[in-house]
Structure formats: C-alpha cells, structure tokens
Assembly symmetry: C2
Homo-oligomer: 659 residues x 2
C-alpha cells in the first residue's frame, strides 16, 4: 500500500507495521485509511466486485493520533494516464449511506495477556457490484484525515476472450503437498530395484507447476482463503470466502468478489457441480458460490447453494449436482440438525426439483438429466481406510437422515465424481461445465496426525483422477476438458525412514524405542504392497496397512502426543486430549499411540492438532490450456488461467445490461 | 528380480524379504544369486559398465539352506527375441578369475542387540568395462545352485543421437525441497498484499518437473547414491558413487557405471568443471568422475579428479576447473592434511599444469585459458550468512594452506560459478562443457537444524542462477546452454508460522513459551525484508535476519534439542551434544537455543543431526531440451535427458576401438 500520510500517522504506521504481526488491526490495511480491494489486486475484465472503504480512528494504543473520526473521506479512481474520477462518477452509481462501528484488537501477545485491547472507531462506505472492463492499471485513492492518502494500484489483466475448453474439472487434494504424494506412491505402487512398475495418475500429467498459497495478510493460509484465491483471483484473509475482510461485525457485509463458477454461469450459461468428501458446507466446496467473512456460517452456506446470495444483488448460480457429507445442515432441528432458519433443507432442495439421495446405491441409479443433491453422512464422509479395511469403524450414528443409525452405504470420491460428470454432461449440453471434486480428508487426517488415513484419501483421489480420465476418454470428452489436480495449501509432512514395529514394542524406554527407526539405507523398501493377505481389485492401494516395517512419517508442528507410526485401526486418530474440560490445554491422549514414544509438541497448547504449512503445492494440468499451468506462480493465477481457458474476460458490459 | 528357485530357497527368500528391512544381506539381491546391474536397470546405448555376479551361501540364520557354495554358476545374456549367449561370448571377453570372500550381517535389530550375525560365503566373478549398443530389452540370467535362476531385465533406452545443446550447467541445491524454496522466497523477496514484487530466479524457469529420489534398495537416499543416479542413470545404494554395491570388502572393486561427464568427454571431447561449497571430495562433486562403494574415500577421490580411476581401465576425464573447500585432502600430512599416499595435492595438480589458487582475489584474476584448482578453506566453505552478516565467525583456523590462519577471503558460489564458466568457455571452444555447481550447505545446515543458514545458502544459489543466466546472455551463450536447477533429495523441512521472539524470551515455562508461536492468520507477514538496518546491494537477500517475528520452521525428524527459532549468530548450529565421549548418545546441546523450548527428538540417539526425507524434489529447466524436464519422473531420467540433449547415445562402438 503506497501511502502519503501526515508525520504523526507515519510514526504510528511504523510502530504498527513492525510490531503487529500476531494480531493486526486489519490485515491488508497497515494505514488508517483502508481500501478493499487493496493495493496490488488483480481483476478479470468484467468481474463483479464490491468496494469497501474504511477510515480508522484508534482511541488508544500505539496508533492513537487524537484526530476526530473523518466521516468526509473521498475516493477516486483513475485509469493510468487518465483523470481521477469520484467513484460515483466512475461507475455511475449513487453514494451509499455512511456506516459507523467500532472494534477492538490486541496489539501483541503481551497486550492480550494484560487484557489491554485497543479500541478503533470506523467510518465506512461500501459500493456494491461494480466491474472494470478495460485491461490495464488503475489507481484508486482514498483521501482522509485532512489529506492523508491511501493509494491502491489495481490491475485488470489483459486476457484473450476466446474460449478454449468446454469443461474444467478441478480436483483439490486438500492439504496435499509434494511429500504426501511421494509417500502415497511409496505405499500404493510397487517398485523393483528403484523402478516403479506403476505410478500415480498425477505422475502421468504432462504439465506440472507450483502455486504459492500464502494469504493476502499472512504467510500461512487456511482452506477458505486459499479456495477464494483459486475461485476469484483475489487472495484474502484466513476464514474468508470470496470476500475481503472488513472490520465490521456482520459476516455477510464484507466486500465480495465474483467467482469463476458465477462468471462461467453468468456469461456462458455453463453448468456447475460440487463434490467433496467433507461436510458440504466446508470451505473448499463453499468457495464456489459463497461470500462471507466467516467460513463457519455453514447453515447460510447451504442456503446459498440453493438460493444464492440473499442480502445483496449478486450473480445467481444454479448448481446441478452437490455430493458430500454434512447432513446436520440439512435435516431439521427437531432431529438434531442445525439449519438456516430451522428449515428442512432436504425439503427445500426437493421443492426446487432436486433428486435427494442419501446413499451410494441411490446415487448410482440417479436420473442424470435431473439435478441431484446427495448427502451421505453427518459430518465428514467416512475415510477410504474405514470404508475398505477397518469397516467396523463405520458403525457410528451418522445416518444422513438424522435417525442416528450408521451411514454404512457411503460412496467414495470416485463414485461421486463419475456420477457428477454424467449428470453435468447430460444437463449442460453444449454449454459445458465446471466441476469441483475435493478429497477433503487428506487435510483432515493430516490435522489429526493420522498419516495412514491421509495417504488412503490421497490414493483415492488419484484413483478418482485415473477413473475420470478413462471415463472422459470413453465418452470422447477428454479433448474438451481441462483437468487440474492441485491443493489449497500444504502440511509440513514428510517421510524420513521406516519403523520396526516389533522392535518398537519390545523396548521399554523411549530413548531405546527410537532405535526402531531406520533412516537412509536402513529405511529399506515399502512393505505396504503385496506382502499381506488383503487384496483389492484396484492395485493402486496398499495390500497391507499394518506391516512390520511402517513408515517413519510425521508433521513438523504438533500438539503433545505419543507416536507409534502405526495404523490407527479403531478410526481417525485423536492425538491430544484436553487436560480438563474447557481448559483449552491439550496434552497427550492417553488412549492414543500405544507402545509409542511420548513427544512434546511445539504448537500453543490450545491446539489439539497439526497446522498448515508454507510450502508451495503442485499443480497438475492436462487438456486444453494445459500449457498455462507450468512453472511457478501465485494461487490466484489458477483462477486467471481457468478464466482464460473458458474465455471469461469481457471488455465491455453484457448487452442484457447486467453489468 | 524375477526368480525361479528351489522350494527351499523360495521359503528362505520369503522370510528374508519380509523381515529384512533395517538390514539386508545385500540391497538389490533378495535371492542367493546376485546380478549387478540388477533387474530393471536402464542403460544409455554405448555406456560402459561392469558386471558383478555373486552366489551367496548363508552359513546360518533364516536363509541357511545347507547347500555347498556354488563356484560353477553361469551367466548368459539374450536380447529379447534372440538366443541366450554366455557373457564371454556375448561381449567377446575372457572369463575372469573366480573370487571368494565372506561377510556377516544382522537380520534385524534384535539380532544386532543379541550380537548374532549371519555369516555368508560368496563366490563371485566380475566382467569389466562392457557396453550394450542396441536399444531394447535384454535378459541377463544367472544360473546357480543346481538350476536356481536369477533373471535381470535390462533396458537400453532408444534415444536420438543428435546433439541439441552445446553446454549443460547442472545446479544442485543439496537437500533443497520445495518447502525450503518457498521459505527462501518468503525471507528474500518482498510481498505486498500477497503479491510478490520480485521472485526467485528459479520461479522464472519455464519448465518445472519433479524427480523421485529414492535409492535402488531403500526409499531414503543419501547424496552419493542420488548423485550417482543423476550422473549415470543407475540408482544404487547409500554411500555408493557410480558403482553398484557388491558384498566384498574392497571399496574400489564394485561394478562401475560410466558417468555423463565421462561419456561426454570420451565421445565429444567436451570439457568438465566442478564447483561446490562443500569440501571438494564430498559426494555430489565426487560423483562426476569417482567410482567407489565408500563416499568417505576422500583422498582417493581427490586423486581421481587428477589421475582418473587407477585400479581398472576406465574413461579418463581431464577436469578444467575445480573450485571448493576441503584443503585437508590437498596439503600434506606434515601440515595436518590427510592425502592420498601422503602426497601434496597442490603440487600434484600444479605438476599437471593447473593454476593453484587459495582465495577469492586470486580466483578473480585467473588466466581463463589455463586449468585451475581453487581450494579456499579447510572443510566446507563458509556460509553466506557468515561471509556477509556475522563475519566474526570467519575467524577460525581454516586457511587452505594448512597454516592454521583464518580463511577470510573466500568466494561465494556466484563468483566461483561465473569464473568457472569463463574458464570452460575459453578452453572448450566448439566442444562445449558440462559444469556442476553445487550449493552444498543447504543440506549441511538443514542437517544441523540451522534453518537461517540453510535459507541463506539457498538464496545464494538462486542469486548464482540469476547471475549465470545474465552472464550467459551477455556472452550470447544462453541459447546453447541447458540450465538445470534441482536437488539430490529433500529434507523434511517446512514453515508453519511465526515466532514472537520478545514473547518467547519473556515466558518461563516451555508450555507457555509455545504461545509465542503464531499460526494461520497469526503467522503475519515476513519481517526479514526491508525492516532492519542491514542492506545489501543485491535485494534478493533479507535485510534483517533477526527480526522480532521469526519463522516458525523446522524438520520433522530431529535429535533432542532446544529450539528458539532464532538466528544462530555465533556460527553454524550444533543442536545436540554427546552425553559423554564415545557414548554415541546425543542429547540437547546446553549451549544451543537459549530461551528456547526443550524438545525430545525421534531419531535414534546416536544421531546428532537431522536426516534426509522421501519427498520428490523440483527440477527447473531452461534452454535446449527444456521440454524433456516437465512432469514427474525418476532421478535417473535426468541423466538420460541430459545425455539425449548432448546426443551421447551410441548405437555402435567408436571407430577408435575404445569400445
């Protein structure tokens, strides 16, 4: 953010920007005058977005300057080389009502411990649903506090408008970094003398790239913020779905940015599908059409899938197919559900002509010409390892009907994805489709340090990619379809060797147990393939999840835990347990990691699980426009490349006057 | 290894192959009849290699079968579709003398603890310096023990013989995985609102690939074995340099494979250069021309640089330029050196017309038309962070002359690489050159958990790549030169957030200190760039290595240590110290990590440092043949792609009768 501020503000800025890291007054606004979209934002030509302006008056703390709250700030926009115009003139819109609120924040951890928050008064305006059509650079200038200025440089990318792909299928392996792919290959594919006899479907993609996943205002992202970058071409703040985070309390008034699904439907009539192994209101699936500061607004997110954005005029997107978990946001409160306005969302979807199904068997016999909602379980869907190997763990009260019976007949990602493709294919005709297919529990199982389940999910994703390619090939649609496989962020995960489970269990002292670990030449070979009694029809999964020599694997940042590097047969792992209820203090779960080594964590003790990491994540591309996805680039470039492939850049408003 | 063994041998094989992981009788030989090169080996047409056959007779243990040692084994080779010929007929060579020896091994950790080794008698033959010229599949068959067979399928790749690049520069960031590149970018390049204002040179490479780094016989590699794969197209065993590991005691009789440098010189007269920030006999530089089972044969390796392989007829390669550390293998024992046959290797090189230089100043004024040996320090070269920021650490008795003075005037990787290019350019004329430039201490500093120094080395590598491109461009050589940047293996390293150093130091209890760590939105932004007082002419390095908010970074497998996530100002870190001398039991170094958190490690306690990891590592390519290096492939494919780019495949022996 270039700024030209008074001397007092400059001093305050310096203090603020250097010390405020753990907490910040407002992420992308180091000065007291805030512009969203902020400096350095990129735009697709014709993409809708909201503008939010805020002027901050800190009432105490290091940024206190003693000026009154400026309610008369002005905002201009200039194309480079052109004259600055007031925003109302530039977009030919009315000036909105001034909004005012206040908020508090802690300047650092010492202030948090001392309970000395800083109070900030805010004057703000928001301009809704505008668009820039002409490619090039713009300067947006907020003038406030008697001449202080916040200048934001905006860049509308110059992309070809010609459409090159009919369909895009975006596979997201949530939390999948390169090391986890390498580990999955090691346990799922056979190698002889260092030569793999088979490899992953991802390994065969012709184009590989790396994307940088960092946030707008922090270098570690969550899945909401990173999904927003992939879906809108705008990086934002942790917990945000397709909005920039403003400082107001309302999680639905933050400045929105139009998503690729929304533009694709608005401009081409293309069809949309969402498949995830998470609860379906989770961040990654939600990011196709939701707009909120708070990813935890699950009930509203489910309503958005059906009814679109409610509180503002926005792009409405019918969704052809939604498959996933999270039944608790569908069945009504009477059955224990937690739904938007207490409604039964199975009924709500049915009223709008969705076929409603709740198990794999029904899914397989769906009419592909009609819209479909498939919700297969409460919460996240069952993991591949539990569906296929440790099936006794399916016996939990997770029925998607809310009747507390088990959800035994759950599909996997492959079945869901292939059926979603059939529905989209049948319904979209010449218009094409955009499908998200998310392997959500790579991330969820890495969070709980359940490495085996995470790798099972990753192998299932790869199996799904393989089956998708075969299916598209069989229906002669492969050549029209861009297939992308990527992640939204990494986990600090890797494999460093092997663990002799017999030896580990036979030692009594932790420091002696560590001798069970073999590194370098003592890591040996993978014993997960073709050494046990279990066999599956698909050879791309381990035949033995519980060999004598397991992987010595782990995360780099953990809660206190006990590690035995052995498969967790009784269901997803819970590495840490709360010392006492509501203490927010987690310690080694006494029921976890039998025979293992007690390890102290490094994360703050309120963390009961691992966290995301910085690492760039891989992008695999195949199909029309694949050449755009090589090399190294920002996460937002995936949006622009997909938009270019769909030809969504628009140099002028649509004739129907919608923009 | 396909095998057709007697029932007894089959049972023994099953036991052996399932239980023997931590230790193995002989890595690539699960049966009792061993063929090297083993099953699944690939070859470049015309590449020299040795064949080693072994028949094993276990005298006790789980593989004991009570047969006499078979000294009358036979070995045949057949091209697919052709008749099997005795190896002596196939290559028109004499049958060598039978060799016999024995060795012992432990079948597992229990056997090691119980001190119950297994004794194995061996009968063996070796066939030296043969080559296969016709592309396609071959079956090599060892027949032993009354009809047991070990069949190896060999594949000679069918590559075009046309040369496409004049020069290849291979940059190796030792131990550099994707996450460390991401972290280096974060501390070395400025980002505004999530958009990098500059990026790494590597980020700008047009082609990105991933290479799988695993060994022939273990899934974690070391740098010798991985360098062998890159240099010969043959994966081998930990500690091996361009040989397959046989079971004999002699580290110089193992079956060799010709390297790219050797073939390039033999077939085209191309010139060779070696630059490394390690001691120059270290594995990565050694792998251009050395052939030994034991990478620790430093003295012999230095002799090989000058005099080639001594004990067998092999390809001789003059090396134009050698720059690095490791003076102790050059100055004579009288000065404390440890050299081959006690000779003074500065003298030995000088006798063969090398210019000998021992500091940066002399290096810069070298005559580029003459060969040059530059050795700048004892041991590994000084780190970028110590050369440029914490310069007081240069005051150590490391002078390359052996006079125990400091080695203050050391060049960095950039200076060495640019000078090496000038020498190679001047001397090679139309023949072209192959240059290895290794940033060795990314790995060495990750091993000792000294993250800051590791990232400094990585940024120096990137700065070297950037300067190399500019230099080649300025001399109009860029278009003729394939530039590769890759690693030999990863480390389980990543960044998970930030650490408030003020808060960390102010807490008294470890579990409270953990609150200093900020994850997700609390990670904030990098404070390493443009926030301190230090400035460098090159903007691609941090201006402040000691900010209030440092990176929360680490490895996934460690010794016991104390972590404070803060720069180690007094020189490279030593995280763990031996509890008592020769105890082989390492615990937290009491002098390391002041104010930090005590963390118990997971590695066996004889480890005083971290270890390598499994993760695929990135490959960046630019120049002729760059398109060969996209997607995902084995480390050996880098050899075949480079060989294809140089046009080194030969469908028939050279006319001079050398093969």
């Amino acid at each position: 953010m270039k700024c030209s501020c008074s001397a007092i503000a400059a001093a305050a800025l310096l203090v603020g920007s250097v010390s405020a890291q753990t907490f910040r007054r407002l992420g992308a606004c180091p000065t007291l005058g805030c512009v969203f979209p902020p400096d350095q934002a990129d735009f697709l030509a014709g993409q809708f977005f909201d503008i939010r302006l805020e002027v901050h008056q800190p009432k105490n703390g290091s940024e206190f300057i003693g000026l009154p709250l400026d309610e008369n700030f002005t905002f201009t926009i200039a194309k480079t080389g052109g004259a600055a115009k007031l925003v109302t003139d530039y977009f030919k819109i009315q000036d909105p009502k001034l909004e005012k609120w206040n908020f508090t924040w802690f300047e650092d951890l010492f202030a948090r411990d001392a309970k000395t928050p800083t109070l900030v008064n805010v004057a703000s305006k928001a301009y809704r649903r505008v668009a820039l059509y002409e490619p090039g650079e713009y300067t947006a200038t907020l003038t406030y506090n008697n001449g202080s200025k916040t200048e934001a440089t905006w860049n509308v990318r110059d992309l070809a408008e010609e459409r090159k792909a009919k369909n895009i299928i975006l596979f997201i392996g949530d939390g999948m970094s390169t090391a986890s792919i390498t580990a999955a290959r090691l346990i799922g594919h056979k190698s002889i003398n260092g030569k793999y006899q088979t490899t992953m479907a991802m390994d065969k993609f012709p184009v590989l790239g790396h994307q940088m996943t960092h946030s707008l205002d922090s270098f570690i992202t969550d899945s909401a913020n990173s999904a927003s970058a992939l879906n809108t071409g705008h990086k934002s703040t942790v917990n945000c779905l397709n909005v920039y985070a403003d400082s107001s309390k309302d999680p639905f008034d933050d400045p929105k940015v139009e998503t690729i699904a929304e533009m694709f439907h608005r401009l081409t009539g293309g069809h949309i599908g969402i498949v995830s192994t998470a609860y379906i209101a989770d961040a990654t699936p939600a990011a196709l059409v939701s707009h909120t500061r708070a990813r935890s607004q699950y009930e509203a997110i489910v309503d958005t899938y059906l009814n679109g954005v409610q509180n503002y005029t926005w792009t409405d997107v019918p969704i052809d197919v939604i498959f996933g978990g999270g039944a608790e946001q569908f069945y009504p409160p009477a059955l224990g559900g937690k739904t938007y306005q207490g409604k039964d969302y199975y009924d709500e979807f049915a009223k709008q002509d969705y076929q409603i199904i709740q198990n794999r068997t029904s899914m397989l016999s769906l009419d592909v010409k009609e819209k479909a909602l498939g919700i297969f379980t409460v919460s996240n869907m069952a993991k591949w390892l539990d569906r296929n190997v440790y099936t006794q763990n399916m016996n939990q009260s997770l029925s998607p009907t809310g009747d507390k019976k088990p959800a035994l007949d759950q599909p996997g990602l492959k079945d869901m994805t292939l059926k979603a493709i059939d529905i989209l294919q049948a319904r979209s005709g010449d218009k094409g489709y955009f499908l998200l297919s998310e392997a959500a529990s790579i991330d969820k199982m890495l969070h709980v340090l359940d490495y085996d389940r995470a790798l099972g999910e990753l192998l299932e994703l790869d199996d799904t990619v393989k089956a998708t390619i075969a299916h598209l090939n069989a229906t002669n649609c492969l050549k029209d379809t861009l297939i992308l496989v990527t992640a939204d962020h990494g986990h600090g995960f890797d494999v460093m060797g092997s663990v002799d489970q017999h030896y580990l269990a036979a030692q009594n002292v932790d420091r002696k147990k560590r001798d069970a670990i073999g590194v370098y030449e003592q890591s040996g070979l993978s014993q997960y393939i073709n050494t046990g009694n279990l066999t599956y029809t698909d050879s791309s999964f381990p035949s033995n999840w519980d060999p004598r020599y397991t992987l010595f694997q782990g995360l780099m940042a953990d809660p206190d835990r006990r590690e035995n590097w052995s498969v967790h047969k009784s269901g997803p792992r819970e590495p840490a347990a709360e010392i006492e209820e509501d203490s927010d203090d987690f310690y080694v779960n006494p029921k976890d990691g039998a025979e293992g080594i007690m390890l102290n964590g490094t994360l703050p003790v309120e963390n009961d699980q691992g966290v995301h990491s910085l690492s760039d994540v891989p992008v695999y591309a195949m199909g029309p426009c694949q050449e755009l996805f090589g090399s190294t680039y920002s996460s937002i470039d995936i949006f622009y490349n997909m938009a270019e492939c769909f030809g969504l850049a628009k140099g002028s408003p649509q004739e129907d006057g919608t923009a």
